[in-house]
Symmetry: C2
Subunit: 131 residues, 2 copies
């Protein structure tokens, strides 16, 4: 790690155009910090064994949640954070082009452990490394 | 967790003025996401058992590092990220008022497991909860 350098999130985000296809920008112990460009609908899915943290860097992210008390949607404007608890089915949606930062254990799949059919525009991945 | 709502980092950062005194804005499994206002010098310290992740939200953070190859300083401008590896002595410094986001295991002390004398302007804490 002796030659690690800081990474600029704006530079990383300018280096790709794919939607719903996270890039790993840093690792912290056995967790990954990822950034993604998103727009439109993701899919209903759940991570059985881990929480998932979202920070909206630019744009706006809606996360539909299926909770014991019923379904609701939280709205994260720029600069907002939210943690989806483990086991909670959720579906992210971005009404405009949006950039997000995610935190989850290394190896966590973007589509979770349980999910509906993965649409073509969504990348089922544990995150892509940067060059 | 059924009634958790998103939290706005700008609102959280507007709610306090203390320097070097992190607030916990979210938890992710057994990790905390914290934000802090910083300016001037922190202190040399090391976390023996955990990496520490930094994201500069506004301003500029310099982190001096004592690595096997010698001492160097990394500069994180706004939007930059960096992970200090576990065991590495480091000393943050902000030349201007700066806002940072930190990620580390719940219970991690701001001054690490080994540190020089803690100056009066630095809060030795595992992070403060929000109201």
């Amino acid at each position: 790690m002796a030659t690690e350098e800081p990474r600029s999130l704006p530079d990383v985000l300018a280096s790709f155009t794919d939607r719903w296809s996270p890039r790993i920008v840093a690792s912290v112990n056995d967790y990954d910090v990822r950034v993604a460009k998103v727009e439109g609908e993701h899919l209903w899915h759940a991570h059985d064994d881990t929480d998932e943290f979202f920070l909206v860097l630019t744009g706006e992210l809606h996360i539909a949640l299926r909770e014991p008390a019923g379904e609701r949607t939280v709205v994260l404007r720029q600069g907002s954070v939210f943690t989806v608890p483990r086991g909670t089915e959720h579906k992210p949606y971005a009404p405009v082009p949006t950039e997000i930062l995610l935190l989850e254990p290394t190896g966590t799949l973007t589509v979770g452990d349980r999910h509906e059919e993965v649409p073509d525009h969504v990348d089922a991945t544990t995150g892509h490394t940067l060059d």
